[in-house]
């Protein structure tokens, strides 16, 4: 046990490096990632496509063990997926042969029929889909399916929720609604959330801090704490200032590329 830690670290990543081997050439995907996430924090990770942010999330989820470095949860190495870490993917990945209710209760263990029913009901309420217990995924819209997917991940009461660009496939208006829902869930369940996105507004609006990743190989360029009080106004001065900061991180990245071309 580390006695020198003053804050409770839920997730601790040290010197994480990962390579893919493509056509016998080794391509670095993640380089020297050092990251710590405290209890009940909401962390946004932002980066452009291909920077390895999804890979990073999968490693934290326990879906990928092929890396160098340490990835720990509560002091223990994460070797495989567990119910303590919930994950919401980019696609809803609902089982089409199950109803909404059956999908949500699928991972529940050692619960009676009425307990399961209650949990499903609570979580449908949480994501704003009360009454849809008996619907099939094919009858739902994209946004609704994704909300069911979130309910399914939360039904098992994970301590950490990983979200991999969960609202990427949704239209802009639905996305804003889902962001609100997300914050509501976070505040209600007091859960730790790691949220990956390529949308700067989303990252700033949601996170306690924003982790900016560089292009491949993915490195952590900057960690920007968002000290703006909630509920945040997307048009407030503070918000726009931080947004600008992050934009510049990406622009400077591109400026470097232009120099190399010349």
């Amino acid at each position: 046990m580390n006695m020198d830690k003053l804050t409770e670290d839920r997730i601790l990543i040290r010197n994480l490096n990962k390579k893919f081997v493509i056509n016998r050439k080794s391509v670095p995907v993640l380089e020297n990632i050092n990251l710590h996430v405290e209890k009940s924090q909401f962390i946004s990770i932002i980066g452009s496509s291909g920077c390895g942010k999804s890979t990073l999330l999968r490693i934290i989820a326990g879906l990928d063990n092929d890396y160098e470095g340490t990835v720990e949860m509560d002091g223990e190495k994460i070797l495989k997926p567990s119910l303590k870490i919930g994950i919401v993917f980019q696609e809803h990945r609902l089982f089409p042969w199950f109803t909404v209710s059956e999908n949500i209760s699928f991972g529940l263990r050692d619960k009676s029929y009425s307990e399961k029913k209650e949990i499903v009901k609570q979580h449908l309420e949480l994501v704003g889909l009360s009454g849809f217990e008996d619907a099939y995924p094919s009858q739902l819209s994209g946004g609704m399916s994704q909300r069911v997917s979130i309910a399914r991940a939360l039904a098992n009461n994970p301590e950490i929720l990983l979200m991999d660009e969960p609202f990427g496939a949704l239209d802009a208006l639905t996305r804003i609604q889902m962001q609100e829902q997300c914050l509501k869930i976070w505040e209600t369940k007091k859960i730790t959330i790691i949220f990956v996105t390529h949308d700067i507004d989303e990252a700033v609006y949601l996170g306690d801090k924003v982790i900016v990743m560089s292009q491949r190989p993915g490195r952590i360029k900057k960690v920007i704490p968002i000290k703006v009080k909630r509920p945040r106004d997307r048009n407030s001065y503070d918000f726009l200032e931080i947004r600008k900061l992050i934009y510049e991180e990406f622009f400077s990245d591109q400026k470097e590329i232009v120099n190399y071309v010349i």
Binding site: A61, G62, L63, P81, S82, L83, I85, G86, I87, F89, E91, R93, F95, P96, W97, F98, F106, G107, Y136, P137, S138, N156
Partner: protein
């Protein structure tokens, strides 16, 4: 408006069969075709009625259907069971691979001599041939269905720490069901097509027997009746299974 569209659709369905019947009748009436080779539709129809009235048609159809069902049922149970094992286990896949790849292309008909040696000329040899006709389509489709389960859904089950039994029953099986149903339909049709070959093995009943017996007596009309019956029953079985598939696979 719809009624007119439906009418035209029905016309399109019927135009070819009716034309065939008319051409057939013309060929027969004008004596262009040797009556031994091909009798006219009228004669075929008469034979059909006669066979029904004599009760022989029902008996033969019944016997054939019984045999097909027996062979098909054994093939289904074994095909699905073995298919699941091979589909889920890479070890079993590799172990059984060569034997299956060699046996599968052998047409059931080629098995007849061996079947007679092993099972005699009773029911068992016929059922064996029918079994072979049904087994491989079922087995292959079950394996394929299991291999094609969406990996993204498998990952979700992994993340939710779903125990193996539940995973197979509630993720793999429902997901492979469309393929399994296709395999079953192909299997039944394969079984039905083998019925003539199987009934060549010294049979005294069945539609296949009816055809080969009539052939020896140059009763072409009976042969044609038999062939058409086989076609109609085969199609009916397929339609029934398709309905079953639609009601099981609702997604």
């Amino acid at each position: 408006m719809h009624k007119i569209k439906d009418f035209y659709k029905i016309v399109e369905y019927l135009i070819l069969p009716v034309t065939v019947l008319i051409v057939w009748q013309i060929l027969f009436k004008t004596g262009l075709v040797n009556p031994i080779l091909l009798l006219g539709p009228g004669k075929v129809w008469h034979s059909f009625i006669n066979l029904i009235e004599a009760g022989t048609l029902y008996k033969n159809i019944g016997m054939s259907i019984l045999r097909v069902l027996e062979g098909f049922l054994i093939a289904s149970v074994s095909g699905i069971f073995l298919g699941i094992i091979v589909g889920l286990s890479k070890h079993f896949d590799r172990i059984t691979n060569i034997v299956i790849q060699i046996i599968r292309p052998i047409p059931p008909i080629a098995w007849i001599p061996l079947a007679i040696l092993w099972f005699g000329i009773g029911e068992n040899s016929k059922i064996y041939i029918i079994l072979l006709g049904a087994f491989f389509p079922i087995f292959t489709n079950v394996v394929e269905g299991i291999h094609r389960v969406d990996k993204k859904l498998i990952e979700v089950a992994y993340v939710l720490e779903i125990p193996k039994g539940k995973f197979i029953r509630k993720v793999i099986m429902p997901s492979s069901l469309p393929f399994i149903m296709t395999g079953i339909r192909l299997g039944l049709s394969g079984a039905w097509m083998c019925v003539v070959a199987a009934e060549l093995i010294a049979s005294t009943s069945g539609v296949g027997y009816m055809i080969s017996d009539a052939r020896q007596l140059s009763q072409t009309d009976v042969v044609i009746v038999g062939m058409l019956i086989i076609g109609v029953i085969g199609k009916t079985m397929d339609v029934l299974l398709l309905k079953l598939q639609r009601s099981l696979v609702k997604w």
